[in-house]
Amino acid sequence: MSMDGVIFITYILTLLGIGIWFSRKSSESSEQYLLGGRSLGPAVTAMTMQTTAMSGYMFMGAPALAFQYGWYAVWYAIGDAGGSIINLSVLGKRMRRMSELLGALSPIEFLEKRFESASVRIVGSIISIVFLFAYVCAQFIAAGKAMSTLTGFPYELSLIIGISVIIIYTVAGGYLAVAYTSFVQGVIMVLGVVGIGFLAYFHVGGLTGLNVALEKIDPTYLSIWGKDLAFYGQWGVVLGAILIFSIGYMGLPHVVVRHMSMKSTKTVKGAILISAIWNQFFIFVPYILGLISIILLPNIKDPEMAITQLAYTLFPGLFAALLLSAVMSAVMSTADSLLCRRARFYHVMFTNALLIKMPLRKRLSSFLDFVF
């Protein structure tokens, strides 16, 4: 088996190992399963929050956007790079404190108890199911694409393997497995993207070399208004690009739940600092790699595959495997968080031998918990 295959299988086995490791601990209670017993420190909180927020978009959508619009795409990165700071400083302490006082285990339950309204839960659940279902599907598709590129397996088989791994470790290990795999994934994402970014950066002669080459192709690639000045003077569009990620995270339930699982309100300050530093290392690089692809891969058919193609064309072997593991990390860390709450139902089902041992009331409650 090739080196990249070995690295990738090691990565998959590590994720499964973490899931199984935490499975016993997660069985202790609902709070333990859904929030890891509110025990996460600043480093794990920062990493799990950021890797959950950074989905397959960062490795596929972001470079494709930069490939299409040039430097304009970096507006999205600017908002994204500060998203965790805004999210943690606005919601962090408040949600940690209030969710414990109210005994809430999810953002929707938090809203229901905070506003003393059952209809909030139903409306919130319907919105979350409809929109997050599409989001999970997008992550699965990205997982299939990335794994297919890495292993050479057919797309459908890659999709099945990717989904199975995510479901197994999420159902087995619950929130703690999701959080600690996210931590590992966060490290891999930074190493993968910074490694390839570093090599590609020198390949094109640094930032200056990159911009000189872009200017020769089309000077408007260097503009903040997009290629062909498509958004010239449209500050509303620019503001939207910044705000979508800078304040958008506060509306994502699978990100917001990270506030509720912190060890204490004192965890917030460290999480802000760690996530702020991690963001600056990670977030800008996929966009820069998209710009580099304009020069190195001008005839690419699917710009969403720019990073994976860059990895395989220019840096085969170890770095390509590392980067593609990082792509899978980004996808999996988002998908597992979206699935975590639903996974509680299956976990209860398995650990109670298909619910037979449970009283009827608890069975119904578990089912409602799964649906809503």
């Binding site: 700071i85 640094g206 911009n211 309100t265 300050k269 802000i272 600092l273 702020a276 530093i277």
Partner: protein, 43 residues
């Protein structure tokens, strides 16, 4: 600089430094609040 138009350079390049700076300021602000809260609890 970096062969970027001045407008692009000044709108984009400072942001990573601004965010890290803000992160550091917030860290110390929240640390002070945590310390004050702890003193209050002991007192």
């Amino acid at each position: 600089m970096f062969n970027l138009p001045a407008e692009t350079f000044w709108w984009i390049i400072p942001w990573p430094f601004i965010w890290v700076g803000l992160g550091v300021i917030l860290y110390f602000k929240l640390k002070r609040e945590d310390d004050a809260e702890e003193r209050e609890n002991i007192g």
